[in-house]
């Protein structure tokens, strides 16, 4: 069904950005700018909710909503429109993006108070909302790529917001280039998809006269690729899936492209909350789920996704253990949680992935904002070793972050518990990949343990213990309302948000109705792996057991963290962890330096100047030398000239005579 309100969702923030950029820079009035920014996002939020939940909304009705704005590219057989589609998946996504985004905007108004580049910041932030929503609502790969690159650009701009700080600039550059590597894979995936399916559209829009067969629906009746390595280069679904996964890995900070995310913390904290925790980094997950139709036909790709996800999860968690910068801890925790989501995708639990995305958006945004509040109160101090005992100074922040902590650690009734538990269970119960799923489950479980530990460490170092900062300079204080209110809202959400996805196994304890809302919402939009959703008895038992197990794990983690760090908050952590396994250094030494040096010395100096120009100059020299030789014919002596003429004459006569004598 065609509705032009959809475009309002994306264009409202764009308008906000434009207004802030051109008008805001003139009227340097924070209230105006803040109003424009938050207002525009608020509009899209309202519209999003309306379109989602009205009588035949995207999340209630069966038919997705379409908005065909204009035909963008139409060359040969390629047709890529500027067309939006809001089905259940993108609808869900749009909802929490707009909502969380709105909250973070509000928070930022307080946080960025008094900044010189206030207007710039909010222009970028609105622009980001535009790009993100475009990414989500796009109805074809190419437009999705527009948003995909757009969010990359915005994160580049926002990370580099303090452009006069070198590390900010470096981080921004690093983020953009790393994302570019991912985008390379993504765009290639798109091309291969087009090559194979002849279309780049997601959902056929009858109104725009599109054929029923789209890039996704093309696969529904294709055979599933074999579960072999050979499938990777076969140019089929597996190849597509892997190429797309490269893109996802870049955007969602998976091994080996995760390195940009921790550095991205150089940006202002709201940015970290919005872009690098809640929304942009989950775009990879969204894309995979959007293309689930392709992925389920590519078991090899799925397996690789799962492995990478699990590896990232545990890898980042270990690093997170040892960080002292409060934002770095959260950053690595984000990477780790993203790993979880990819693990979920990898084992075919797409719904669980989305579920975790949402809950994660809530509590991680909460944690980031809380840390922002802390940093704000500590006069931009980020090192936890110089904090401690803050709970009496900023009670609201403490209370809200407490919920976030419990949520991420996986304590029941908190949002994190359900989603994480779902993922672990789906991993455990996944089949088709031999016994590897058990290994994956163990990895996930250990990650959960580590998560609990380092989050506890963070909380302890920040809020408990004795105050390690000197009171002469630092006067901790609670943040203003604009900041605390979003915190509270998010705290509530991360407390109750989990109940949209209570699995049958747990809900059946109390009621017989299946209350797994999210699953029912997303079912139609997601491709199905073959295992059916049969709530057989022993499965339910197993799931419950696992749930209990994960609770135990969480509790153990918290306990460990408490016992270890309560007494010695500033405990020295292993150096290798503190230095993030020296990954950056390795990249630098193994890739960047060789390439740069090779290009400068080898390609430019030696080949370009040396060889190519050398050859040219050699030719020129040769001609000139020839000239030098030639001019020595001209010795200046008449007799010599006569002799030369005579020689020429003799040669001519000889030639002619020879030819003449020939019979």
């Amino acid at each position: 069904m065609e509705t032009n309100l959809l475009s309002l969702i994306i264009f409202a923030p764009l308008a906000g950005a434009v207004i802030n950029w051109f008008v805001g820079r003139r009227v340097r009035d924070e209230r105006f700018i803040g109003l424009v920014a938050c207002g525009s996002v608020a509009i899209s939020t309202i519209v999003a909710f309306y379109l989602a939940f009205n009588s035949h909304g995207a999340l209630r009705g069966e038919a997705p909503l379409f908005d065909h704005i204009w035909t963008w590219l139409q060359v040969g057989t390629l047709r890529a429109d500027f067309a939006l589609a809001m089905d259940r998946l993108s609808g869900t996504y749009a909802l929490f993006i707009t909502f969380v985004g709105f909250l973070i905007h509000v928070f930022a108004v307080g946080y960025m108070h008094g900044e010189a580049g206030f207007y710039r910041f909010f222009a970028y932030l609105n622009l980001f909302m535009f790009a993100m929503l475009t990414l989500v609502l796009a109805n074809n790969f190419v437009l999705m790529f527009v948003g995909w690159e757009g969010v990359g650009l915005c994160s580049y701009l926002l990370i580099g917001y303090y452009f006069d700080k070198k590390e900010a600039g470096d981080a921004a550059k690093k983020a953009f280039i790393t994302n570019r590597i991912g985008d390379w894979g993504f765009i290639l995936g798109v091309m291969l998809t087009f090559y194979v399916t002849g279309s780049v559209t997601f959902i056929a829009n009858p109104a725009a006269g599109e054929t029923a067969q789209t890039a996704l629906s093309f696969f529904t009746n294709q055979a599933v690729d074999p579960f072999t390595l050979g499938a990777i280069t076969a140019g089929g679904a597996t190849s597509i899936a892997l190429l797309l996964f490269i893109g996802a890995a870049g955007k969602s900070a998976q091994i080996p492209l995760y390195v940009w995310l921790p550095d991205a913390m150089a940006g202002p904290t709201p940015v970290s909350a919005l872009i690098h925790a809640a929304t942009m980094v989950t775009a990879g997950v969204y894309m995979i789920v959007r293309c689930s139709e392709i992925f389920v036909h590519a078991p090899t790709a799925m397996f690789i996704v799962a492995i990478v996800g699990a590896a990232t999860a545990i890898f980042a968690a270990t690093i997170g253990l040892a960080q002292n910068d409060i934002k770095k801890v959260l950053a690595y925790s984000t990477v780790s949680q993203l790993g979880y989501m990819f693990l979920a995708c990898g084992v075919g639990a797409f719904v669980a992935a989305i579920f975790h995305v949402i809950t994660h958006a809530f509590f991680k945004a909460l944690l980031f904002l809380g840390s922002g509040s802390v940093i704000h109160g500590m006069h931009h101090e980020q090192d936890m070793r110089r904090m401690g005992g803050l709970k009496k100074y900023m009670p609201v922040t403490f209370a809200t972050m407490l919920t976030g902590w419990l949520a991420i650690s996986g304590i029941p009734i908190f949002a994190g518990f359900f989603s994480k538990d779902e993922i672990l269970w789906k991993t455990w119960s996944a089949h088709g990949i031999g016994s590897a799923n058990k290994v994956l489950w163990i990895v996930g479980a250990i990650t959960a343990l580590l998560t609990a530990i380092y989050m506890t460490r963070m909380m302890v170092m920040t809020f408990w213990g004795k105050e390690r900062f000197d009171h002469s300079h630092v006067h901790p204080h609670e943040s203003p309302k604009t900041m605390t209110i979003p915190l509270i809202v998010l705290a509530v959400l991360s407390t109750v948000g989990g109940f949209i996805g209570v699995p049958y196994a747990l809900s059946s304890v109390f009621t017989d109705r299946d209350v797994n809302v999210i699953e029912h919402t997303l079912e139609p939009a997601i491709a199905h792996t073959e295992q059916a959703e049969a709530h057989s008895h022993d499965e339910i038992v197993a799931e419950r057991a696992l749930a209990v197990g994960s609770v135990v794990i969480a509790l153990i983690g918290i306990g460990l963290g408490w016992t270890i760090f309560k007494k010695r908050p500033t405990l020295e952590m292993p150096r290798v962890l503190e230095n993030k396994y020296y990954v950056d250094e390795i990249y630098d030494a193994a890739l960047i330096r060789p390439i740069v040096a090779g290009s400068r010395e080898g390609l430019w100096k030696i080949f370009d100047i040396g060889v190519i120009d050398g050859v040219l100059h050699a030719i020129g020299q040769a001609v000139t030398e020839l000239g030098r030789l030639g001019r020595y014919l001209q010795a200046g002596f008449v007799r010599g000239y006569a002799a030369i003429i005579l020689i020429g004459a003799l040669i001519l006569i000889g030639l002619f005579a020879y030819l003449g004598m020939r019979p």
């Binding site: 001019r631 001209q634 008449v638 007799r639």
Partner: protein
């Protein structure tokens, strides 16, 4: 027997060659000039020889014209020689070699 045509041709060829050689090895301008005259005379011999063997007047007329040309060349050539001698006080052609390379 009588002298054949080819004898005369051979003789003129020899004279021509001697003239050519002279032009190359003589250093005195006037001497070179005389060698050129020698070459012209060799050619004249060829003409006359052909003319008389063909009983044709053309060749002899050619000789006639060649002589005129030789005279003209002599006049101009000697004029040039005198002019250059005024500036250089020498007739050595090898001295006249500032225009080179």
């Amino acid at each position: 027997m009588e002298p054949q045509l080819s004898w005369y041709l051979a003789l003129s060829a020899v004279l021509f060659t001697i003239g050519v050689t002279g032009v190359i090895i003589k250093r005195n301008v006037i001497a070179m000039f005389m060698c050129i005259e020698l070459m012209l005379n060799a050619v004249n011999l060829t003409f006359v020889a052909f003319a008389s063997f063909f009983q044709d007047v053309t060749g002899q007329l050619f000789v006639f014209i060649v002589m005129t040309v030789a005279a003209a060349e002599a006049a101009v050539g000697l004029g040039i020689i005198i002019a250059i001698f005024r500036n250089r006080e020498t007739l050595d052609v090898d001295e006249a070699s500032i225009l080179k390379l």
